[in-house]
Amino acid sequence: MNQALQDIRGDFPILAGSDLIYFDNAATTQKPRQVLDAVVNYYNTQNANPLRGLYGLSVAATEAYEGARETVRAFIGAQSASEIIFTRNATEALNLVAYSYGRTRVKAGDNIVIAVSEHHSNILPWQMVARETGAELRYLECGPEGQYPEEQIDSLIDERTAIVAVAQVSNVLGVSLPVESIIAKAHSAGAVVVIDGAQSTPHAPVDVTALDADFFAFSGHKLLAPMGIGVLYGKETLLEAMPPFLSGGEMIEYVTREDATYAELPHKFEAGTVNAGGAVGLAAAIDYLTDIGLEAVAAHETALTARMMTALKAIPHVSILGSDDPADHHGIVSFNIEGCHPHDVASILDTDGICVRAGHHCAQPLLAHLGIGAACRASVYLYNTEDEVDRFAAALENVRKELGYGS
């Protein structure tokens, strides 16, 4: 194991001294003391309503909040902090783009291209935009391992494509989508690209500028930060031209009885009192992850994933969804056991102190496309261990017996 990851378990109060095997990291991650302390410290020493301050404490709160924005900017390689908008989560970030950009820019006869493997949070907003504008919603269809052929990307995206919205990493298969070629094709067709980075940002370095993404969304809680803080990156030129998503306090310049002018970016898109404590927690989480190094995190996850896949393949009746290559899973291993409903599997594993997700993973179109009703998903992160993987595999081996089968 990487040196930097050797002793980190003690940083996570919920895991320290506990036997619980937490394998639901794709849903949300546990929080290290460093993040929790940063949030508490903000409330203990800096808390006031940011951006309104005429006094020192509010200035301190504003500095903490805007400092967090700068940390996020550097983390994802944005050019300017005014391109970083704090939201509640990835879902809100995606909705912001759909409401503010999609509804105002997409016209009848246009099309919106998304992938069949998208999370519902990157499907429903586009269904809404298509419905309201009369645009066509098109789906990129993946193969059984989640692979998207280049020819399809070339043929589906055309000169009437207004928006392409895809995840960088699938939350069910863990596989990377070919976002580089999708972005290149979309830009050559004059479309803007929205990248859902909810499952990629926690596991690999992101550079939105190199990627040339127009919009990029992610959630803090999936990368060690508190719940309730997420991020939308958008290119400044696009954000400038968009109307606000929500309106009210903190996002205006001047208000008369009839009208208002809006604040500058990014505050135009941050109506109402902000989640400063959450933003500070997110910055602390980013610092924590970058201290360890996302490359080291990814290497650790791939090693655990490889171990898990090898163990699961040796268990009769277990089938793994997606690619055969552990490096193509981003810590996510979805699987099924023949004859056993995933919810029953999760319940049995729960009695062994193992937390896995089971169900449709908010990706029903993908599961329908793959011809499966539901699946179990084990997902690892930097604090998981080889020993946990071994105990998980041993428990899984008994599940069919617990559910009444001879073997």
Binding site: H341, P342, H343, S347, I348, G404
Partner: protein, 152 residues
């Protein structure tokens, strides 16, 4: 009873070898019940004559708890009047919500073992599916319809 014992001693048998999972000829009432989040999907069929459930069966698929619960339910309601069956279905729903009294729970016979599911919010809908569908079937008489429970 802990969950593994519940599976071992009761659920597995009803799930893997259900007594009532088949098509019912001459059914007078028929209703579909679905848990979209889990993919549990059953079709309950009843043969009602003179206010008495003469026979019942179900077909479909889903998790072990949903299938076993429906099978146990049918064990219990065949031969009962529709009013009695309705009272039992109400009692089961109340038990799962943690509101039933001892008499109501006792009346459920073997299905009373599912009481512990009330402490597992994610599985409550699975256990309820058959009973909810029964309630809908009886409430609507012979009319066809669907009982859906949305999620996520």
């Amino acid at each position: 009873m802990d969950l593994k014992s519940l599976y071992r001693e009761i659920i597995n048998e009803h799930n893997l070898h259900p007594a009532h999972k088949h098509d019912l000829e001459g059914a007078t009432a028929d209703h579909r019940g679905v848990n979209p989040s889990c993919g549990d999907d059953i079709r309950l069929q009843l043969k009602i004559k003179d206010g008495v459930i003469e026979d019942a069966a179900f077909v479909g698929s889903g998790c072990a708890i949903s299938q076993a619960s429906a099978d146990m339910m049918i064990d219990l309601i065949v031969g009962k009047s529709t009013e009695e069956a309705m009272t039992l279905a109400d009692g089961f729903m109340r038990m799962i919500q943690g509101k039933a009294d001892d008499a109501e729970i006792e009346a459920l016979e073997e299905a009373a073992a599912l009481q512990s599911v009330s402490k597992m919010p994610a599985r409550v809908k699975c256990a309820e599916l058959g009973w909810r569908t029964l309630g809908k079937t009886l409430a609507e008489g012979a009319a066809e319809g669907e009982g859906h429970q949305p999620h996520c």
